[in-house]
């Protein structure tokens, strides 16, 4: 799976991703990514447990799919403003394209590191 393997080049990215996760994601998805953030109960849509992304996919962590999900959010899926924001747009709007690329990449590496069976 392209981009899925943890390599020497990317091993520290999950640490960077943890910082970005706490900043942007934890309020809904929870500090440990179980989908139990402080704001989760107030949302009309269920907030997924992000430690089970691989488990829900037969054990394989789809790095590319996670990158796209973070980038796109779920606003296009009919949840209106209740769904997950399109973070790619949010990141690039604040700090430019490089910030978007690195933040999305780091988050997808971090989430791989928290997968459980």
């Amino acid at each position: 799976m392209p981009g899925a393997a943890e390599t020497e080049a990317t091993k520290d990215l999950s640490v960077r991703g943890r910082a970005a996760y706490l900043r942007y994601c934890s309020s809904c998805h929870g500090n440990e990514a179980h989908g139990d953030g402080a704001r989760a109960s107030g949302l009309k849509v269920p907030v997924p447990d992000l430690t089970r992304i691989a488990a829900r996919n037969g054990g394989a962590y789809d790095y590319d799919g996670v990158v796209r999900s973070i980038m796109k959010g779920s606003e296009g899926k009919g949840h209106g403003t209740e769904g997950m924001p399109a973070w790619g747009r949010a990141f690039s709007g604040t700090n430019g394209m490089a910030a978007m690329v690195t933040a999305v990449r780091d988050l997808a590496h971090y989430l791989r590191s928290v997968q459980r069976p």
Binding site: P2, G3, T7, E8, A9, T10, L13, Y63, D64, G65, V67, R68, M71, K72, G88, S92, G96, M97, A98, V101, T102, V104, R105, A108
Partner: protein, 153 residues
Amino acid sequence: MSDNERHSTHCCRAGLALALVCGIATAVGAQQGGNPPGTPDAEAAAKGKVIYERYCAVCHGTNGTGDGPLASELRTAPADLTRLAANNGGVFPAGAVAKAIDGRGTTRAHGTPDMPAWGEVFKRTGGTGVSDIEAAVVRITHYIWSIQRLASD
């Protein structure tokens, strides 16, 4: 600041940018070392692969063919980096590639919606495993050079 001062600052910056770009082009050539002319340096390419995987693969793809996970989300499709030589009469345009990666001293000095000026990013954040930006850019260039495919492939 007087107009004169402003002008001289501007010229100084432009000169610096030009020197930088020339420096990169020279460095790309110089790192060939004992390799046959016109071939990438294997050691630089191996090191460049690491940086490539960190910064480039998410858009340009693990294999450099322009099919990274972010590719479909971008307005401008990322280039197939394995065809740069094929699209340039069989000659890998090393200097132009280094300049494009760095992005500083060009009209897209701060990056564009198409591609960030990575020289700016490396300057701010480090994370390439080398102390200077030019070395990082040169290594990435050699790696991209090493993955060129023939036009017939």
